[in-house]
C-alpha cells in the first residue's frame, strides 16, 4: 500500500507542473491590465504603475513570472495580492470556511442521498421511489444561482431562520443555509445513482444465490447488496468532493462566505496569476489526495481492486 501511495504521489508531480503552467498561461492570456482594473476609473500615475509592475514582476516575461510564482508557492513565501492583502493571512481565514461549508454540504448530500437512494432502490416503485424520482427531477432542473438567491430571500430575509450572509454567527449556524441548498441540489444526482446501483445489484445472480441459500433480508442487504452497490458511489462522491471547489465560487459569493471560492473569483477578476495558480495547486493537491482515498476505499470494498 505504501508503494502504491508513493507511486501515485510521484506521478502527480509532472501532472501538477502541467496543470499549474496551463492555468498560469490561461490567466496570462486573459485580456486587460490587472493594475488598471484595480485603479477603477481614476487614472494611476505612470510612476506608480511602473513601481507596482516591478513589485509584482509583471514586467518580466511569462515563463519568469511563472517560475517566480512557483518558487513563492514552494517556499511558502506567499506575499501579498495586488490589492495589498497578505496571502498567508487570507489562506488562514479562508481554508477553514471552505472546508466547513464543503463538509457540511456533503454531510447533507450523503445522508439524504444515500438514505433515499437505498430505500427507493430496495423498495422499487413504492411511494418513496416515485416521490424521489419526481423531487430529484425538479431539483436537477433548478439552476444553482436561482436556488441560492431564492433560499436567501425566503429563509434569510422573510422567515429570518438563518443569517442572510456572512460567517459572523459562526459554525454551524452561518453555514447551514448555503450547505443545505448545495446539499439538496447535489442530493438528486447521488440519490438517483444510488437507487440505480441498488436496483441493478438486487437483480444480480449472486443476490439470488444468497436469497436461495436462505439468508435473512437484513444480511442480504448489508453484506451482499450494499458493498457491491457502493462501488460506483465512492467514485461519484470522490469526484463530487473535488468538484465542490468550483461550485463554491458561486455559493460563497452569494452568501458572502470568505472562502477560497470567493478568493479565486477575486483573483480571476483581477487577473492575479500567482493567486490563481496557488489556489489551483491547492485544489489539485486535494484532488490527488481525495482520489487516493477513493482508491484505497475501493480496495477495502472490492478485494479485486487491491492489486490493480
Amino acid at each position: 500500500m505504501t508503494r502504491f501511495v508513493l507511486r501515485r504521489a510521484l506521478a502527480a508531480v509532472p501532472i501538477g507542473v502541467i496543470v499549474t503552467l496551463g492555468v498560469f498561461a490561461l490567466v496570462f492570456a486573459m485580456p486587460g491590465d490587472p493594475l488598471r482594473e484595480l485603479a477603477g476609473d481614476k487614472p494611476i500615475p505612470a510612476a506608480v504603475l511602473a513601481a507596482k509592475r516591478a513589485q509584482f514582476h509583471l514586467d518580466q516575461p511569462f515563463i519568469v513570472q511563472y517560475l517566480l510564482s512557483m518558487k513563492d508557492i514552494l517556499t511558502g513565501n506567499f506575499g501579498t495580492t495586488f490589492a495589498g492583502a497578505d496571502i498567508a493571512d487570507q489562506l488562514r481565514l479562508r481554508i477553514p470556511v471552505t472546508l466547513k461549508l464543503t463538509l457540511l454540504a456533503n454531510a447533507f448530500q450523503w445522508t439524504f442521498g444515500l438514505l433515499f437512494g437505498i430505500y427507493a432502490g430496495f423498495k422499487r416503485n413504492g411511494l418513496v421511489d416515485r416521490s424521489l424520482l419526481l423531487v430529484t427531477l425538479v431539483l436537477l432542473a433548478v439552476p444553482g444561482l436561482v436556488a441560492y438567491f431564492a433560499a436567501q430571500y425566503v429563509f434569510g430575509v422573510e422567515l429570518k431562520w438563518f443569517p442572510v450572509s456572512g460567517i459572523r454567527e459562526g459554525f454551524p449556524h452561518a453555514y447551514l443555509l448555503p450547505a443545505l441548498v448545495i446539499g439538496l441540489l447535489g442530493f438528486a444526482g447521488l440519490a438517483r445513482l444510488m437507487r440505480t446501483s441498488i436496483v441493478e445489484t438486487v437483480n444480480a445472480d449472486f443476490v439470488k444465490t444468497a436469497r436461495a441459500k436462505g439468508l435473512g433480508e437484513q444480511r442480504v442487504l448489508w453484506r451482499h447488496i450494499l458493498p457491491n452497490a457502493m462501488l460506483p458511489i465512492i467514485t461519484f462522491i470522490g469526484i463530487d468532493l473535488a468538484g465542490m471547489f468550483g461550485g463554491a465560487i458561486i455559493t460563497e459569493s452569494i452568501f458572502n462566505l470568505p472562502g477560497l471560492g470567493q478568493f479565486m473569483f477575486q483573483a480571476i477578476k483581477l487577473k492575479e496569476g500567482g493567486v490563481v495558480v496557488l489556489l489551483s495547486t491547492l485544489a489539485f493537491v486535494s484532488f490527488i489526495v481525495i482520489n487516493l482515498i477513493v482508491d484505497v476505499l475501493y480496495g477495502l470494498f472490492d478485494p479485486r481492486a487491491r492489486n490493480v
Binding site: D33, D41, A83, D89, L159, S165, N256, K269
Partner: protein
C-alpha cells in the same frame, strides 16, 4: 404503511433541524435600544486590506478613511462653501502659485502626538515618491519637484531608483505652517485640499506603513475599536480628540463588506444593516422594497460617449455633432434609471454649471442628418466598445447603437471587452471606435471636469483630445485668483470642448440608498448622501 412513516420520519428530522436553527437566531445587531447611536453601514465591495488614505482612491476605502482621518478643509453641506477643518487658513500669493497653509493649534493624532506641519510635509513627500507605489501619488504632480521623485520610465521598464526624497516645492515654515509651491499657477488649489488623499500620517506610521495597515492612527472623528482582522468588519468608536467642525452624530460605526451587491441589499431587507447602496438591479424596485427608508442624491457622476481623436474618420466636428444630435438622451436616461439627460460637460452640483451649455445636445434627427451629410457621411461600421464586467454595458451600447443606426442610417457593431483592456487600448491610442466614460470630481470645482479630461496632458483624457487654444484658456483660469473670473474662463474652455466634442455628454446619474428607521442620512446638494453623517431617531 412503513413507506409512509419513512418519509414522515425524514421530513420531521429536517423540520427539527430547521426549527432549532430558528430558535438560535436572536436579533442581528440589536438596533433600537434607547440612546444607541451606533449603525452598521454595508459596503458592497471586497473587504479592505489596509486603511491608508494616501494609498486609497476607491470609494470603499475613502468612505472608511473619511471617518478616521480629517482633511485640511471641507465643503460645508449647507452652503457649499469651503470651510477649514485642520487648517486655520489657506492663502495663495498674488499669482496663485505659492500657497501657505497654517494649521489650527491643539490638534493631535489618535496616539496623542500633536499634529504639525512636519506631518503633512513628510506624509506628502512619502506619497509623492513613485517607488512607494501609493495611489494618490499623482495628486502631487502639480507641486514643484515632482519629476525628480518620479523619473520618466518607459512602458514596461523597471523604474530607476532615485536619491531625491523630497518635493522641492514643499517647505515647512514653523511647527504649524508650511508652503506649497506649484509648477504653474493654480487658482483652484485651495479647493483640492479637501481631498482625503492628503491626510497626514503620524511619524510611527510613516516609518513602517505596512505594520499599521490594519491599525490606522488618524486625526478624525472616529478611531478603530478593538482588533481588525483580515476579512472582518471594521468597528469604529467616536474619538474625543477630534475638535474640528462637522462631527458626525454617531458614537459607533461598523463597516460591513459584502462583495455581492444583491446580497448586501438582502441583508438590509433582513434588518441587519442600517444603510446600503441600491444596486443597478434594484433601481426599479427599491421604492417598494423599502417604502419608508430610501433617499436619492444628486451624484457628481457625469457620463459620456467618448470618440477617438486618433481615428481620422471621427475627425470632423460636424460628424461628432451629428452623432450627438441623433441621441435621444431622455430615452437613454430612462433606460439607465434614476438619471437625467445632460447638456453640458460639468455635473449640475458644481459652481459654474450651465444647463444649456451644449448647443448640439438636443434630440434633432433632421439636423443630425444634415450635419452628417455636410461632414461627408461615415464610412464603414461604427464600433461601440462596452465593458463586459458591467451588467448593463451591453444594454447601453445597444441603445446608443440603435439610435445611430435608426436615426443616421449608420452600420453599427459592438465589441465587449474588460474595462481595463478598453482603458489600455485607449491609452495607447489603439481603440477602434466609441466607448463610454464617466467622471466624478475629487474637489468641487468646474476645473476638475475640464483639466483632467480635456487638457492635452490631462491624466483622464479618455479621447486623446488636444487643442492648444483650450489649454491656453484653462491656464488663464488656473492663474486667475478671482474665483468669478476664473469660472468665466473655465466656461469658455467648456465651450471650446463642446464645439470640438471629443466627449458627447449623455446623462448624469443619481444614486439611491436605503436606510433603516433608526437613522436619517445627510443629504446635501453639495456633498451628496452620506451615511457617516446620519442623524439618529
Amino acid at each position: 404503511m412503513r413507506r409512509v412513516t419513512g418519509v414522515l420520519g425524514v421530513t420531521l428530522g429536517l423540520a427539527l433541524v430547521l426549527s432549532s436553527c430558528g430558535d438560535g437566531k436572536s436579533g442581528g445587531n440589536g438596533s433600537g435600544a434607547g440612546g444607541d447611536k451606533s449603525m452598521v453601514i454595508a459596503i458592497a465591495a471586497d473587504p479592505l486590506e489596509y486603511i491608508n488614505p494616501l494609498n486609497e482612491n476607491g470609494s470603499p476605502g475613502i468612505q472608511v478613511a473619511q471617518a478616521i482621518f480629517a482633511p485640511l478643509v471641507t465643503t460645508d453641506p449647507q452652503s457649499g462653501k469651503t470651510v477649514n477643518v485642520m487648517a486655520d487658513s489657506v492663502t495663495p500669493d498674488k499669482s496663485s502659485q505659492t500657497w501657505t497653509v497654517k494649521l489650527k493649534t491643539g490638534n493631535t493624532f489618535q496616539n496623542g502626538q500633536p499634529l504639525t506641519a512636519k506631518d503633512y510635509v513628510d506624509s506628502w513627500n512619502l506619497t509623492a515618491q513613485g517607488s512607494t507605489a501609493w495611489k494618490n501619488n499623482g495628486f502631487f504632480s502639480k507641486i514643484e519637484g515632482y519629476e525628480a521623485l518620479n523619473p520618466e520610465t518607459p512602458e514596461g521598464a523597471t523604474p530607476k531608483p532615485t536619491t531625491v526624497k523630497t518635493l522641492s516645492g514643499l517647505k515647512q515654515v514653523d511647527d504649524l505652517t508650511f508652503t506649497v509651491k506649484l509648477k504653474v499657477p493654480f487658482s483652484q488649489f485651495g479647493l483640492t485640499l479637501q481631498y482625503l488623499g492628503l491626510a497626514p500620517l503620524p511619524e510611527e506610521v510613516r516609518k513602517d506603513p505596512d505594520a499599521y495597515k490594519r491599525k490606522p492612527i488618524g486625526n478624525g472623528a472616529f478611531k478603530l475599536d478593538g482588533e481588525w482582522t483580515a476579512g472582518g468588519d471594521i468597528k469604529l468608536a467616536k474619538w474625543d480628540g477630534y475638535k474640528g467642525p462637522n462631527a458626525p452624530a454617531a458614537t459607533a460605526i461598523t463597516y460591513r463588506f459584502i462583495p455581492n451587491a444583491d446580497t448586501a441589499y438582502n441583508e438590509f431587507l433582513a434588518g441587519t444593516v442600517d444603510f446600503v447602496d441600491v444596486p443597478a438591479t434594484k433601481v426599479k424596485t427599491f421604492k417598494t422594497d423599502a417604502p419608508d427608508g430610501w433617499v436619492t442624491g444628486e451624484s457628481s457622476g457625469a457620463n459620456y460617449l467618448t470618440l477617438p481623436a486618433w481615428d481620422q474618420r471621427y475627425k470632423n466636428p460636424k460628424l461628432r455633432h451629428a452623432f450627438s444630435l441623433a441621441i435621444d438622451r431622455q430615452a437613454m436616461a430612462d433606460l439607465v434609471g434614476l438619471a437625467t439627460p445632460s447638456k453640458g460637460l460639468v455635473s449640475p452640483d458644481i459652481d459654474g454649471y450651465r444647463a444649456d451649455a451644449c448647443k448640439f445636445c438636443d434630440f434633432d434627427v433632421a439636423k443630425a442628418k444634415t450635419l452628417l451629410a455636410e461632414a461627408g457621411g461615415f464610412s464603414g461600421p461604427v464600433n461601440i466598445n462596452y465593458n463586459t464586467t458591467s451588467a448593463t454595458g451591453q444594454i447601453f451600447a445597444e441603445a446608443i447603437g440603435n439610435m445611430l443606426r435608426q436615426n443616421l442610417g449608420l452600420e453599427v457593431k459592438y465589441t465587449g471587452k474588460q474595462g481595463s483592456e478598453i482603458t489600455e487600448l485607449a491609452d495607447t491610442r489603439k481603440l477602434d471606435g466609441l466607448r463610454f466614460s464617466g467622471w466624478g470630481h475629487d474637489y468641487p470645482s468646474i476645473e476638475d471636469y475640464l483639466s483632467p479630461m480635456f487638457k492635452s496632458t490631462g491624466d483622464a483624457n479618455f479621447s486623446g483630445y488636444n487643442n492648444p487654444e483650450l489649454d491656453r484658456v484653462l491656464a488663464q483660469g488656473d492663474s486667475q485668483s478671482d474665483s468669478e473670473a476664473a469660472i468665466k474662463l473655465y466656461q469658455q474652455a467648456e465651450d471650446i470642448a463642446l464645439e470640438d466634442m471629443p466627449l458627447i455628454p449623455l446623462y448624469a446619474k443619481q444614486n439611491a440608498y436605503l436606510h433603516s428607521a433608526k437613522i436619517e442620512p445627510r443629504v446635501s446638494k453639495y456633498t451628496g448622501v452620506q451615511a457617516l453623517y446620519s442623524t439618529f431617531q
